[in-house]
Every structure is written in C-alpha cells, then in structure tokens.
C-alpha cells in the first residue's frame, strides 16, 4: 500500500473529523454562552439595580433586568455621604495591607529556609504547613475569640491583622517553597562562592527570580483578607472598626425595608478591587494555584 495516496474512505474520514471539529467549536460556544450568562447574571443584576431609583426597584412593572426609568447615581452618592461605607472601605484597606505584608514576610522567609536550608524537622514542618492550609476558619473561630480576648485586641482591626495571616501563610509558604525549589542549585553555589550571605542571596536572587510566585502568593493573601467574612463577623462588633464585607451585609440593611439599591452599590464597590486585580494578574494567580496542586 502506498503511504501518500489516501483511500476515498480515509479522505472522507478526515473530512468528517474536520467538520466534526467545527461543530464541536460551535457547540462549545453555545454552551459557554449559557454558562457565562449563569455566571455573570447575578453581578449584572446587581449593577443594574444599583442604578435604579428606589421607586423603580419597588415597582412590579417593567422587565427587572433593564433600567426602565432614568438611571441614577443616588445610591452611590448616598453610600459615601450618609453611611459608614467609607469607614468600612478604609478599614478594609488598612487590614488588607497589613495582613498581606505580614503574611508575605513570614512566608517568604520560611519558604526560603524550607526550600534551601536543611535543619532538624524541616521536612516535617513543610508537611505540617501544607496540613494547616487545609484547616478551615470555621474550626478555629471559637477558640480564637478567647485567644484574641487574652491578647487585648478584640473588637479592633488589629485582631484581623493577626488572624488573616493564619489563613494565608500556609498556602503562600507552600507555593513559595515550590517556586524557590525550582531555582537551579548552581545559582546559589555560585552566589556562595562569590561570598554572598543567605540573606543577600534571598533578596538579590531568590525574590527577583521567583517574582511570579510572589505575585501569586500576594494575590492569594489579598483575597483571603479582602473577602474574609467569618473572622470580622465574630471578632468585630463596633462600626468604627468594621470592614467592608460584614459592614455591607449588616449595617446597610436597615429595618424591614431593604435598601436594595444601596446594598447592591456597596456590594459591587466592595467586590470591585479583587475583580480588577484578577483581571490584570489572573495568569500569575492561576499558575500559582495550579502549581500548588500539580507539583506536590
């Protein structure tokens, strides 16, 4: 049999594979469209509601996911002038910046040590770090309530700066160990011979080379703290110290009448920073996230 000439049957098969692929692509787009409508409808509906007047929100006329009367910025203005929302936002930024800095400092130092310097119990510790990553916040908030009481930080944002790193550090350390471990050993041998100390090596070689990993870990720590809900709900009760998530859920709902417009505006503004960050840095984050599971 000659290899270059295709039998009619084989040619037909190739053609059917090709048209099969085109159909698969068209079907994929249709189903993806359905999925994306399901995924994006809630945020879209929140956005539309936040621009509606109270009158329209409480009327039953008209299609609900279209703005039927004239759109308004009232809810956003009201949020910034008449509610505690700016305070919540400021507190969230403070808590997030502090806890991300603390988490990253702890995990970079520890990951460098665990990836490169062997000492008694270092492998056990690395496994232990991975296990603590699996500990959910719902398991520990009751005893932490007491512990933060002893420490005298209850009902302050500093309580959150202390506890958010417990959720972020294990994962950040884990993926940083992976990134640091993938840096070729020859590099630190060269550096050692050149007389660099360990700290110099960390700051001049490891951190710049492992930047993608550091970005991924930072995004993770940011998310944990920005979206945190149980810890602030349990440890913060005064509005002055409250952060966005809990503040929006608890204080913007007044009485029996739900201020849907304001509520949706607040929820969207609170969700905006993570969404914007992911839009720009998604690739770093995904590679860090999947590396954690696929590398081991």
């Amino acid at each position: 049999m000659s290899e270059t000439t295709l039998s009619p049957a084989a040619a037909g098969k190739v053609g059917s594979i090709r048209s099969g692929r085109r159909w698969a692509l068209i079907l994929a787009y249709i189903f993806l469209g359905v999925f994306v409508v399901f995924f994006l409808f809630p945020p879209y509906y929140m956005l539309v509601t936040s621009f509606k007047t109270d009158h329209e929100i409480s009327s039953l006329a008209g299609i609900p996911w279209i703005i039927n009367e004239s759109p308004t910025l009232y809810h956003y203005k009201n949020l910034f002038t008449n509610t505690m929302f700016p305070t919540f936002f400021k507190n969230t930024v403070i808590v997030t910046v502090c806890s991300v800095a603390l988490s990253m400092a702890i995990s970079i130092l520890a990951a460098y040590s665990l990836a490169r310097m062997r000492f008694i119990g270092s492998t056990v510790l690395a496994t232990g770090v991975f296990l603590t990553y699996l500990v959910p916040d719902t398991l520990l908030f009751i005893p932490l309530f007491k512990v933060l009481g002893f420490l005298g930080v209850m009902n302050t944002k500093w309580a959150l700066v202390l506890v958010f790193p417990t959720l972020a550090v294990p994962f950040c350390t884990w993926i940083m160990i992976g990134y640091f471990g993938s840096i070729p050993k020859e590099l630190d041998e060269a550096a050692l011979i050149d007389g660099a100390g360990h700290l110099q090596m960390l700051f001049r070689i490891f951190i710049p080379v492992a930047m993608p990993g550091i970005i991924a870990a930072t995004i993770f720590a940011f998310t944990v703290s920005w979206a945190g809900f149980l810890y602030p709900a349990a440890f913060i009760f005064s509005n002055d110290e409250m952060i966005l998530t809990v503040g929006t859920v608890t204080t913007l709902i007044r009485g029996d009448v739900y201020h849907w417009g304001g509520l949706m505006a607040g929820a969207l503004l609170g969700a905006a920073p993570p969404v914007i960050i992911y839009a720009f840095l998604m690739d770093y984050y995904i590679s860090g996230l999947t590396a954690g599971a696929t590398k081991g």
Binding site: L32, P43, L131, L134, F141
Partner: protein, 315 residues
C-alpha cells in the same frame, strides 16, 4: 518563558555582591547555617503554633467546660448535642449540602474546562476570565446579589416564573427551596475553581496520547474514558477532596442568604457554632459543635496528602 533573562540578571547580581575574603565568609555561613535557617522559620512557627495549634488544643479544652466556663464537665457538651434534634438536622444538611454541591461543582467544572479547551488558544483567556468572575467576587457580597435575585416578590427570577405563567416561589422562606438555593449559590461560586484546576489537568495530558487514540479509532467518549480521566485522576481527587473540606466548612453563603433558616433547615456546623458561641455566648457548646469539623478534615487531609505525595513520587 523569561528564564534565561532572569538567570542572567541573577548571575549579575551575585557578581555585584562579590567582596570580602572567601574563606572566612564561607566558614561563618556554614557555622551559622542551621541557626539562621531556624530563625527564618521562627515567625511561621510562632504563627502556626500560637494561632492555629494552640487554639485547636484550647478548643478541645473549652468544649469540656460548662456554659459559664467555670467547671469541667467532661463530654457532657457532646452528650447534650447528640440528644438535640437540631444537631442531627445540621449533620443531615451538612452532608446533603456538601455532597450535592461538590458533585455539581465538579461536574460543571469538568464540562466547562472541556468547553474552554476546545477553543483556539487565543480565545481561551477571555472565556476563562469571564467564567472566573463568580469565584473572584467575595462570596459574602455576591450572596447579597443572589439574595436580591431570589427575592420573593420584586426580583428577576420570580418575574420570569410569573411571566411564564408559574406561581411565585419563596426561595429563601420555603425550607426545601432554601436548601436548593444555598446549594445553587455554592455551585455558582465554586465551579470556576474546578474549571481552573481541571483545565490545568487537561493541558498536562500529552497531546500524542489523544492522537494515538484517534488513530486507533477511539470515539470521543472512549478518549474521555480511557485517556483524559485516568490522566487527570490525581488532580480530580485533590480538587474534590479540597473542595469538600471548604464546602463542609462553609459559612458566608448560608449566613447571608438564609442565616440557617427557615426552621434551621439550612444550618451548617459553621453557622450553628456562630449562633451558639458568638450570638448566644455559649462558647463551650459552640467549640464542641465546630470540633465536629475536625474528623472530616482529618480523613480528607489524609487522602489529599496521600494523593499529593503519590503524584510527587510518580514524577
């Protein structure tokens, strides 16, 4: 990627720090290496020890005190829980919630990953990004949106139902619809995570395996059954186990949507412990409730660890 570039930069950096006498430096580094290594992990040990391990042990102690925390009562809190109807309802709801939500998240994530993987490479980024939005929004805030979406009288879903001639559904007030709703929102929030993990898994399957299967005349289903799933077994296992822990321990979605109601039908361990401990001030009872998360966590963590290390040894 940018590997060669960074390599060059790094080497340049090391030459910059070339200084001082070689021997003395090396000796000093060797001498203090393990001390320094320990000093670098010390903050981590303090954090994990002080704010994870100690609270965990303390939680066991707390769960054996009376309500006023003045007297040691042994296992009385647990005995009391076993006699309460609410407890068994929480157990039942936690299992239903977790199993259903994880199953559908996994299924939808798997389908979604395949759909995205079919697209040409340059289109994948956009669709992946759009599908990730639910997972990127803080769940407490997106649950607020769902709350409004499920509102019995004024909102969109019921508007569609009534326009189609149906009867309004009180999603969050009817016990069974409330169960359905919290699971639905959890699926909405969690399936993008599965999509990301499965997509990474799909990409790691060597393309020549599919080519070989195709030449052998394997159908689409056979390729899925005999190539994709065996190759992705490990990542599926790790993702499902991990998500099971997180779903079982869920707090924010249920807290915002139903607050455990109606009649405690959607209560999970986390939300119930919150009510008992933070709102009613019965810390020991709440500690006992939240400790029930631990056995589940321990069993699943064992399997995750086994999968992760198996994977590592395969490589």
């Amino acid at each position: 990627m940018t590997q060669p570039m960074t390599h060059v930069q790094a080497v340049r950096a090391t030459t910059r720090v070339r200084e001082a006498s070689l021997g003395a430096r090396l000796r000093r580094i060797v001498f203090r290496k393990s001390t320094l290594a320990f000093a670098l992990v010390l903050p981590l040990i303090v954090l994990i020890g002080g704010l994870i391990l100690y609270p965990f042990g303390y939680s066991i102690y707390l769960s054996m005190l009376n309500k006023a925390e003045t007297r040691f009562v042994g296992l009385d809190n647990f005995r009391f829980l076993f006699r309460r109807e609410t407890f068994w309802m929480v157990v039942q709801q936690s299992v239903i919630f977790t199993v259903t939500a994880v199953f559908f998240k996994s299924l939808l994530g798997f389908i979604l990953a395949h759909l995205i993987n079919v697209l040409p490479n340059k289109r994948q980024r956009l669709w992946r990004g759009l599908s990730l939005v639910p997972w990127v929004m803080p769940p407490a805030l997106s649950s607020l949106g769902w709350w409004w979406l499920l509102d019995p009288s004024y909102s969109a879903i019921n508007w569609i139902i009534t326009s189609l001639g149906g009867v309004r559904i009180a999603f969050l007030a009817d016990p069974y619809w409330a169960r359905f709703s919290v699971i639905l929102v959890n699926i909405w929030y969690g399936s993008p995570f599965f999509m990301i993990m499965y997509l990474a898994g799909l990409k790691s399957v060597p393309a020549d395996l599919y080519e070989a299967a195709e030449i052998d005349g394997a159908t689409r289903f056979q390729r899925l059954r005999y190539v994709t799933i065996p190759m992705m077994r490990n990542i599926i296992a790790v993702t499902v186990l991990f998500s099971t822990i997180v779903t079982f321990a869920n707090f924010d979605i249920v807290r915002v949507l139903t607050n455990g109601g109606p009649r405690g039908m959607t209560e999970l361990f986390g939300t119930w412990a919150f009510k008992l401990g933070i709102q009613s001030g019965d810390i020991p009872q709440a500690a006992a409730v939240s400790l029930f998360l631990f056995p589940i966590l321990a069993v699943l963590a064992f399997f995750i660890l086994r999968n992760v290390s198996k994977r590592a040894s395969e490589i």
